[in-house]
Symmetry: C2
Subunit: 192 residues, 2 copies
DNA sequence: TACGATTGTCGAAAAATTAGACACTGAGGT
DNA sequence: ACCTCAGTGTCTAATTTTTCGACAATCGTA
């Protein structure tokens, strides 16, 4: 499992890395959130531990929210746990609304942080499954529609081809499964 | 649109009712959360505005979390916006994790509260759509599986019946749509 | 009521499916 | 190398299904 830490404070990065080293196989830590797009490219990060303030003139967390949204907009986004010293209720709520898996305040409790990260990854995985299922659902439904307005012959041909495929091209087996004569498959295949 | 307010403070209930009267068609307000199950039974509530503390000996919000979970466990649950005077970040985060659509701190801003409630209802609607789609997806997938192992005859019969259904029993039309002779449908129907 | 569309039903022609057979290929096991 | 076996490609003839055209009966509707 791979973790990406984004915090502009070098000391915090070092500490976090040390604390989480046992839990993750790989940990990358950077100080500049602008590196995020590049680092997330291959989609090989399981979780991002993201600070919320990168500009000392603005401690309202808007930076964190911006990068959070940025991360979560992409499909197959990793889990994101936010961590901040200046968190208030509205900020935490807004972060959760934008898809953060969890929200931690500094100073943090080590064991608690580990637990939150692991649960965040788990939750994120489940969400990904749902997203994928949802994608499929649209396709399935459309297929269903197309099929329902098919001609009997079209349907037959499609089904026959599918079954032959599943039988690895074994016509005899496919014929048995379809409950028809081997000859019939032959004819159907030759027709087109 | 129907709103249910749950707050043990009568003054708060009255004020909320007054503030939100313009926005909702119907508003019910109760002081005891134990009434929730009964009131939500028919599933005719669009949103619940839920206080988090009903026992003055325990102001940690655990009551609110309990009832939040209770509401959200049922299918077709309404939107829930929490409102509390004793909210801290961990509580807000936990509430959002449990499916609350929003989290408001007392004292509240009237316009803000209205906006949050409306957005909460909207979000909840979208979530319901997703839940339904997800349910269907499982069914569709199973159908797909069953169909893929069907005999040609079974498939034919199923499809024929479906199309005849969609044509309201009009055999002639169904035959045209299926690209076969009317007679053929006749035979297929008589067979079983 | 009269019309148009649909139904139930027929017989005969056309097409598809089937069973059975046979030589051939290719993979696996001896 | 040899044998076996499952699968292929192909054929014929029998059987079944589908199709076409037709016709009286029925039903909803203008």
């Amino acid at each position: 499992m791979k973790l990406l830490i984004v915090d502009d404070n070098r000391a915090v990065r070092t500490t976090l890395k040390l604390v989480l080293a046992d839990t993750f196989d790989e940990i990358a830590a950077v100080g500049d959130p602008h590196l995020l797009p590049a680092l997330l490219m291959p989609g090989n990060v399981d979780a991002v531990l993201l600070d919320m303030n990168f500009d000392n003139r603005r401690l309202d967390g808007s930076d964190g929210l911006f990068w959070l949204s940025h991360i979560k907009e992409s499909p197959n986004a990793p889990a994101v746990v936010l961590i901040t010293a200046f968190g208030d209720v509205p900020l935490a709520v807004e972060a959760m609304k934008r898809g953060a898996e969890d929200f931690v305040t500094k100073p943090w409790d080590n064991d608690d942080l580990v637990a939150k990260l692991l649960r965040a990854i788990d939750k994120n995985r489940k969400e990904k499954v749902i997203a994928r299922t949802l994608d499929n659902a649209a396709e399935l439904e459309q297929r269903e529609n197309e099929r329902s307005r098919m001609t009997l012959d079209e349907l037959k041909i499609e089904h026959v081809n599918a079954v032959i495929d599943r039988c690895g091209g074994n016509l005899t087996a496919a014929a048995a499964q379809l409950g028809v004569n081997r000859q019939t498959l032959y004819n159907i295949q030759k027709k087109k």
